[in-house]
Point group: C2
Chain length 399, copies 2
């Protein structure tokens, strides 16, 4: 007989980004070239300064403080100050990736059974974090027609209950590429103040905007010292996803005390990676200019190419490196799998992430997929061509 | 006004290992030399092969698979096979430190509100992990007079309820230094089989035993495929606490599936540290021989020195690098703090971890402290001398 597993299991989904990976592996074994538009793993080089810092290994790879290396916290506070966010090292808590920053935020602020409102579609791992923290996700739907812009305050009022304790979102948005407007953020803040809610602002893509609109940090706003928690990560900024170094920044001292206790339990974030992340703060502006212009190029190419596919609905994303596209089919999950198992074009295929997994509301997003434009234009070109050809073939077969 | 924090906060303790750190920092600022016997941060050098592996930084520090780098899982399985533990890469899941392996074990196997039995005194962070997983710790008390040996099965029967789902322990033991006997482990396994319980065996100190008795791995035992989960870490074995690489190993496929879903949410363990950990598996046996003989020397010295202090009760530890000692005072917490704030001997003082925090039963361990013999004998000598002198002075002052 088999021992029971946790009741949590039924709430844990497989990642829509990773669940089709076995099919991709199979295809690769057959010699098929797979273009990965499914995962936000950039091909951009990690800055050389950061990579060099990994070479300075002390004789003992020792524990660091639970809140992170003080020198790194200090340096990171400086980075935010240069971006108009007045914080000190005391406000900065280093985590093991942005993931842990979100888990700790939920665990420290919410009690089991409490609710967190999240605009959907959202970064699917928020589900897993909510399950870990024993809290419930309440979605507010954003629309592809509006470019997934933050809904007005009234929409949040509709879903609020007396168990609501927080709002969580990413801005710029994963998986939407949306950058939230100042006006809508003002509305959200008024809502949070009115009902004593935390705002967890995941700003992992803060440096990646391509339009007129820059992303506003939640810590730029006045009068919400107790409410605002900024979540960030080195993963995307320095193309160092494998470093697993993130941060949780807040002026709410009581919350930070609870976070510290959680942090003490897991001892510390990885030491050498923090040393590298500290060096990364000195990455010259030219690196970001280059990277952003590269991503803008990719965004523009991908958007134009996808827009040209018959029957596809897409709005131009303003930030991050994702776009959600709506396809003229019923079951994007089936389509994405079929692309890996059955469709080949010039010996290659394209992997995308079915978007239903990014929605909490059952039934939404079934005809949408997320594309991560993390490949060079020369690879995006065949990747999207294959997507177009696959879609045509799929419609013939399953019409 | 201040927003509420999670109800979890009241169950989260400050780490007994770290909570006195601010007092130690104060003392250091005054120029006082502080001998750290409070924390298991070894001074042993990380093996050069592991340190060198940190230098091979790829151009992109990318995400790895959620279950860990396959090459590392394969290599690690080999390590266990050479130790008589027949596992394959498929049984091995890489975690961010042993901490995450325990958190995932609890979250994957237990539902919120379930109970885990833990022999006390136990590694204090188990409390934090239980709070994170929303499960309740039920202690079974082990005794200093018995060298903290695992109690017989009957003691476990006494505390079992219909909410009990698992047993968790470290073997060799932190904070006790106990190595569990084959006979008592057999009893525990019979108990687990009888009641369908998981056994989470934290073997972070598996290589550190100094007597006739070797530590038995839970995966050496037959007929408990569904029950047994081995938890391990590179932290102590390779003196690489800051690497944050651990592992969870089990033959229970259903459990591993749930663990994988939890793992996907947090993406992956740190990539470069895993590459270094993989290289560490090739550390020559001579390294361990040297390290173990060094620790045996320290253990022998510390045990003899502490035994000679009037009024102190201590049993010779058989493994790990800790010992719990019972002092002829009422409040070890106060004593430990006083050592940092008030007591100086030749311009130095000694920091120890008050043991009450290692017990779940209120009132136990108040006259005990944990010593980590992670310093060279030449440092242990003054450290324990200072402890002895401090104790004498403290008894005069607070008799």
């Amino acid at each position: 007989m088999s021992l029971q597993v946790s009741s949590r299991n039924s709430s844990l989904q497989e990642s829509p980004i990773r669940k089709l990976a076995p099919f991709a592996d199979e295809a690769k074994k057959e010699g098929v070239k797979v273009y990965h538009l499914n995962i936000g793993q950039p091909d951009i080089k990690t800055p050389s300064g950061m990579r060099k810092a990994y070479q300075n290994i002390p004789e003992v790879v020792a524990y660091g403080p639970s809140a992170g290396l003080y020198s790194y916290r200090t340096k990171l506070a400086e980075y935010y100050r240069t971006r108009g966010i007045p914080v000190t090292a005391d406000n900065v808590f280093i985590t093991t990736g942005g993931s842990e920053a979100i888990i700790f935020s939920l665990m420290a602020a919410l009690s089991p059974g409490d609710e967190v409102i999240i605009p959907e579609p959202f970064y699917t791992n928020y589900n897993g974090f909510a399950v870990m923290a024993g809290v419930n996700v309440v979605p507010v739907t954003t629309k592809i027609e509006d470019g997934f812009q933050l809904p007005p305050m009234e929409e949040f009022e509709k879903v609020r209950t007396d168990k609501t304790r927080a709002i969580l979102f990413s801005n710029p948005g994963n998986p939407t590429g949306a950058v939230f407007s100042r006006e809508r953020l003002d509305g959200l803040i008024a809502f949070a103040k009115k009902h004593d809610l935390y705002i967890f602002s995941d700003e992992a893509y803060r440096e990646f905007t391509y339009g007129e609109r820059k992303a506003h940090s939640i810590l730029e706003f006045d009068g919400i010292e107790e409410h605002a928690v900024l979540i960030d990560s080195v993963s995307k900024r320095y193309s160092a996803c494998g470093a697993r170094v993130g941060t949780l920044i807040t002026r709410n001292k009581k919350l930070l005390e609870v976070v510290l206790k959680l942090g003490q339990a897991r001892l510390c974030p990885p030491t050498i990676d923090q040393m590298a992340a500290e060096a990364a703060v000195d990455t010259p502006a030219s690196y970001f200019d280059e990277v952003n212009s590269e991503y803008r190029k990719r965004r523009d190419f991908a958007f134009d190419a996808v827009s040209a596919i018959p029957g596809v609905l897409v709005k131009k994303p303003e930030g991050a490196f994702y776009m959600i596209i709506q396809l003229p089919i019923a079951d994007a999950d089936h389509f994405a799998r079929w692309m890996l198992t059955d469709f080949r074009f010039g010996g290659a295929t394209t992997m995308v992430a079915p978007a239903a997994g990014f929605y909490a509301t059952e039934g939404l997003g079934k005809n949408q997929v997320r594309l991560a434009y993390v490949l060079a234009v020369e690879d995006l070109k065949p990747a999207i061509k294959i997507l177009e050809e696959g879609l045509k073939k799929y419609q013939e077969l399953f019409a």
